[in-house]
């Protein structure tokens, strides 16, 4: 059996909403992943440098405060520069300010490099079972 994939979690930018990422982290751990929980207010640069150091397989990013797009403006460029093009990127939370249609917002975040974009209150257990394992397997990381 391969060793457990390494997943980084945390809220990006100045977002202080930590409860979601805490639950995500614990659920991942309980599901057998190797989790590096950065907690809240993680800068894009920190995500990238920790990913390099730990050779991470995925980042499950959280943002609830509505300003994720501003925080992530240059993120994708930098992570490609850092040679992390193969790493899985998910984001979940309340991704823009105000009431929104997730279908409209999804392409904007895909543009920013994310493989999957989740609407508010997504059940993390389902995501792990239906998406994360599949995607990791597809990339040969599991």
């Amino acid at each position: 059996m391969k060793k457990a994939p390494t997943i980084i979690t945390g809220t990006v930018g100045m977002d202080a909403h930590v409860i979601g990422t805490k639950i995500v982290s614990r659920t991942l751990k309980d599901a057998g992943f190797n989790v590096i929980a950065l907690g809240m207010q993680v800068s894009p640069e920190e995500f990238i440098s920790v990913a390099q150091e730990t050779n991470a397989d995925a980042i499950l990013m959280t943002s609830l405060y509505g300003m994720a797009e501003l925080d992530l403006k240059e993120f994708n460029e930098k992570r490609l520069e850092a040679g992390l093009g193969d790493m899985l990127l998910y984001i979940g939370g309340n991704l823009v300010i105000g009431r929104y249609d997730p279908k409209e917002v999804e392409p904007r975040f895909k543009q920013l490099g994310f493989d999957r974009v989740y609407p508010p209150e997504t059940d993390i257990v389902t995501v792990i079972e239906n998406d994360l394992r599949k995607d990791l397997k597809a990339k040969g990381k599991m």
Binding site: K22, M40, Y65, G66, G98, R99, P120
Partner: protein, 486 residues
């Protein structure tokens, strides 16, 4: 008995004035503040703009107002938003600041604000009060016949603009919910060796009011920790010269507990203010708050019901105001329209129920009040022990040792060894006590209540129950009985 006291090195007046200017010089709009002119401006305000007077008038007349949340970056839109609130009967208007302003990133804000004004899009999640400055913010205050309160940031820009609340004392909200690395020692220093600005204004006859927030219980969790922290906030704020306070009481959705806590909080806060010698600091009311998660955007009916529940609890407890979210709370920053329709619902409850002056009693309120009170006294006693009578020293040691603790904190310097869950009737109980000095018989009471839920649901209550309980009100299912017909 130990002498009760509040550690506080009072800085001298010259230094105070210097520090105030330094703070303001962080951004060009600081120049718009002339201290004496600010006092004169404050004194020229009509009663309807003075927070503590509005609260007092509401109570005297047996009425209520919504205390909402509202902030959008562009001034004209902000005026529109607030006028919408006023039209739905709101006379206490918050100015929620954006997250970057709260973290003093004014340069960043400036760029985004320009973008907002150009595109008309609200790219910031609040009103950037520092960047907007005094002149513009006065325009906001003067446009609407209501009292204003800056939320999260503002300092003397807010005061000079005619807002009539301000923060003093040891603030647990920021420490417990907004910051990652601050130590309790740093919190105390920053809020204590601080500027005594509130006292400076009070000396000149300008009373700035403050709501006590306590340590935010981010999840269904007994309120005793929060009330202890409100007492610490009250005493330390009074020490700095704050003359008007009121508790925001975090309601968790169990009616018996919510009403018990609303009774208990002002009573024990008053008691400790008196004990510490701050008889002249007024408690001008109570304001229940909607704390747990809100129903998601698709569930408009549930969202209305939740805010009507909170309004009802406010009305039945004869509170002066209710800290209410809009039906869009689960979705994102509310629009003028969703605010209006939400607060119109609250106003209906206030005007119909509050004005009936119903005198309500609920079986079990006494027990809940007694349990919470016993916990509050036990924790505070330990804090004063640890500080040898000094509430500030005691607080530092209490947080460091987990004698004061709260769940789900983002702050790495918090123990985070406690957890709450709901019992079989939806009341909040301790699941994990961590290092809280709660008397054994009270612990037993909690365990017994948790066991009742386990019996009802036929399964062990654990961490997963706690996570599920985050959504109990949001999903409209507070009690563990199985769905109908199953």
């Amino acid at each position: 008995m130990k002498k009760l006291r509040v550690r506080n090195k009072k800085i001298d007046d010259d230094l105070l004035m210097k520090k105030r200017r330094e703070e303001l010089d962080k951004w060009p709009t600081g120049k718009e503040v002339d201290f004496d002119e600010a006092v004169a401006y404050q004194k020229s305000l009509p009663d309807s703009k003075i927070w503590w007077k509005v609260m007092t008038k509401l109570r005297e007349e047996g009425r209520m107002s919504v205390f909402p949340r509202a902030g959008t970056p562009v001034l004209e839109k902000m005026i529109e938003l607030c006028q919408g609130l006023r039209d739905s009967g709101v006379v206490l208007i918050p100015v929620t600041t954006d997250s970057y302003t709260r973290l003093c990133q004014y340069e960043k804000v400036e760029d985004i604000l320009k973008e907002c004004e150009k595109t008309g899009k609200p790219l910031l999640n609040g009103y950037p009060i520092i960047n907007q400055g005094v002149k513009k913010t006065r325009k906001l205050v003067e446009s609407i016949d209501a009292a204003f309160s800056p939320r999260g940031a503002g300092g003397e820009i807010a005061i000079a603009s005619g807002m009539t609340t301000a923060e003093a004392g040891v603030g647990f909200l920021g420490f417990g919910s907004y910051v990652k690395n601050m130590t309790i020692q740093e919190l105390v220093e920053s809020s204590q060796n601080g500027m005594r600005v509130i006292g400076w204004y009070a000396d000149r006859g300008v009373i700035l009011c403050k709501d006590l927030h306590g340590w935010l219980p981010s999840a269904p969790f007994p309120l005793s920790i929060n009330i202890v922290c409100m007492i610490i906030e009250a005493v330390t704020a009074a020490e700095q010269g704050q003359k008007a306070l009121y508790p925001l009481v975090h309601c968790m959705g169990n009616m018996t507990q919510d009403l018990a806590w609303i009774k208990l909080a002002p009573r024990v806060i008053r008691e400790y203010l008196d004990k510490f010698g701050y008889q002249d600091t007024m408690i001008i009311g109570t304001c229940p708050a909607q704390t747990p998660l809100f129903p998601v955007a698709m569930d408009m009916g549930g969202a209305f019901a939740y805010l009507c529940y909170a309004s009802m609890v406010g009305a039945l407890s004869k509170s002066n105001a209710v800290d209410l979210r809009s039906i869009d709370e689960g979705a994102g920053v509310p629009t003028k329209d969703t605010n209006t329709v939400s607060y119109r619902a609250a106003k209906w409850i206030f005007d119909v129920v509050r004005e009936q002056q119903v005198e309500i009693d609920i079986k079990g309120i006494d027990t809940e009040e007694k349990v919470a009170e016993t916990e509050v006294r036990a924790i505070l006693d330990r804090i004063l022990d640890l500080g040898d009578g000094d509430i500030v020293d005691g607080t530092v040691k209490a947080v460091e040792s987990g004698v004061l603790d709260s769940p789900w904190s983002p702050n790495v310097n918090v123990k985070d060894q406690v957890l709450g869950v709901r019992d079989a009737r939806g009341a909040c109980r301790y699941l994990e006590f961590g290092n809280l000095p709660i008397p054994e018989e009270i612990k037993e009471f909690h365990r017994g209540k948790v066991a009742e839920r386990e019996k009802l649901e036929g399964k062990k209550v654990d961490y997963h129950s706690t996570v599920k309980d985050l959504w109990s009100l949001s999903k409209g299912k507070i009690v563990g009985i199985p769905p109908y017909n199953q």
